[in-house]
Amino acid sequence: MLSFIVRRLLQTLPIILAVAALIFVMFSVIPGTFASSMSDDGRSVLDAEVMARMNKEFGLDDPVYVRFGKYIAQLATFDLGTSFRTRQPVASVIADRLWPTAQLSFAAMLFAIVVGVPLGFIAALRPGSWIDTISMVSAVSGLSLPKFWLGLMLMYLFALVLGWLPSFGYGGGDPRYIILPAIALGVAPLALLARTTRAAVLEIMNADFVRTARSKGMSESKVVRWHLTRNALVIILTTIGLQFGTVIGQAVVVEKLFSWPGLGSLLVDSVTLRDIPVVQGSILVIVLLFLIINMLVDVLCAIIDPRIKYT
């Protein structure tokens, strides 16, 4: 088990290298640099000499491969570099933002799991019933709703009309502030989880071993508890792991909308300003988070399913 985790952690190294390389390529393709973005308000024109000096200062005048090599060398010492904008170490900039994003993502996934999985179960156990139809129609709608629109509607209803919840902001960690963004972010994974759970349960319902369980004279509720749940859990857990990544990615939109001080809004701001070290660092942290969550899911799956070997 421990060697499995160590091996999986080692496997993340090439992934991180690849991601870093991709970001470097991206920033060398899109127009603009940090220096040009500073002067890009349409009114002032930055002196070409000043721009050249800034580029030199940040090492932006080196060829891409040289910069990449430097960056990787730096990364090897666990140094994420310094932000162009704030001149602070990227690691500390990210550390400030990591906790709100983690809070928001976990809250959204919690909402999705607590509602979505039971919904999928109920729908699968009563296929074709009204509860099945309603939950699957709402699941499809949930998947199709744009997050920014849903977020605005939630704000309008619960903050403006009903006045139950604050409309936006972090509120210094007040739990009431997390509810609306978590729902806005959690609806899509909820819908997907409900659908996946339903499909998984329906498939297992037709499995031979479920027929065996019935032939033993087991009641349907015991069939579900003794034989179906564990089998469905493997599929559900895998989906949860994958959805976590999507949620962290999509948090960008929701964080921006709700002025949530997380990694997502940091990322958007840093991309606009071409603050490459912060963008690099944020994306690497997000990727790392995703990899770790999926590793945990794999470990859990291997605990549940004895056929999965730690390889």
Binding site: D208, R211, S215, K216, G217, H227, R230, D305, P306, R307
Partner: protein
């Protein structure tokens, strides 16, 4: 103890629903099984033998349902029992072994637990006691080192071992009737013989009657006293096993017997093509009028194409469903 047979199936009909239409996948099937007897059902794939056994244990699921007839078990009609009453019979007095030992066991549950469930469900014992009984049950199907093996998961066992576990589950509560649906089809030939011996020996020791379903005539001849031959949802012949093979009465049965390859036939008669019955079993929705076998029958006449043959009694309590039986 009543003198009545253990199981009496009368005019059983199983419907296949396709939209609003219903097609009889099994029709007019009647047979009886005495206590402790082994009765065989043979037929090609899709002839309705498996769904007949599922009907007996009340496990038909949509789109299949019992459309008529009676199933009397131990003198009591069971085709209309409620689910909860049926559950008391299922596993306890009627149990079943399935064809695929690879998928018939829950992959995420230790086999000991899957056997122990039977004792918890039907004997009302604690899990600790049930686990102890599971070790005994595993020993009774001759799985070596049962104390250790109960903790194994199905994927750690071979096909034959898994089928032994299935037998242990099926016979755990000493049922009166065991439904064995192609129990050895998925196994190696050498393992087949072991499993069949085990079923024969354990059912004899417990006085359990067996309904053995197979497409393997040799196996049926070996295991069963009486045999029912099914074709396209109907029982076309029912005889003492020996007579079926020595002197088949229905043209379909003759065809089946003739298509058995004989060991050593080549050295005696030279190289010959294996015999076969031309054509295929018709789909449920397209059973022909008259005798259902007529399009494939060498002896079919005009009568066979229009009139459905009734059941004709034969010597020794045999029955045949043919206008031109031999």
């Amino acid at each position: 103890m009543s003198r009545k047979p253990l199981l009496e199936v009368e005019n059983l009909r199983i419907d296949l629903s396709v939209g609003d239409a219903k097609f009889p996948a099994v029709q007019d099937v009647s047979f009886t099984i005495e206590r402790g007897e082994t009765f065989g059902l043979v037929g090609e794939s899709g002839c309705g033998k498996s769904i007949t056994s599922l009907a007996l244990i009340g496990l038909l699921r949509h789109p299949l349902s019992i459309g008529g007839g009676t199933i009397r078990f131990d003198g009591k009609e069971i085709q209309n029992l409620s689910q909860s009453e049926m559950r008391k019979l299922r596993g306890n007095r009627i149990s079943m072994i399935f064809q695929e030992p690879m998928t018939a066991l829950n992959p995420l549950s230790p086999i000991g637990r899957q056997i122990a469930e039977m004792f918890v469900l039907h004997k009302g014992v604690s899990w600790t006691e049930a686990n102890r009984l599971a070790v005994e049950a595993l020993a009774s199907v001759r799985v070596p080192a049962p104390e250790r093996r109960v903790k194994d998961y199905p994927h750690q066992l071979s096909g034959g071992m898994r089928q032994r576990v299935m037998i242990a589950i099926a016979l755990a509560c000493e049922p009166d009737l065991l439904l064995a649906d192609e129990p050895t089809t998925a196994l190696d030939v050498t393992v087949q013989a072991e499993i069949l011996d085990l079923i024969r020996e354990l059912s004899a020791a417990r006085g359990t009657a067996v309904l053995m379903i197979s497409h393997d005539l040799g196996l049926i001849a070996n295991m069963c006293r009486r045999v029912g031959v099914m074709y396209a949802g109907r029982l076309v012949e029912e005889r003492i096993a020996d007579e079926v093979f020595r002197n088949p009465s229905h043209p379909y049965t003759s065809g089946l017997v003739a298509s058995l390859p004989l060991l050593g036939a080549r050295s005696k008669h030279g190289r010959q093509r294996l015999k076969e019955i031309a054509g295929v079993v018709p789909p449920v929705a397209a059973f022909p009028a008259g005798c259902r076998f007529n399009p494939r029958c060498y002896a079919a006449t005009e009568l066979c194409r229009v009139e459905d043959p009734g059941v004709t009694p034969l010597a020794n309590g045999g029955l045949v469903r043919c206008h031109h039986h031999e």
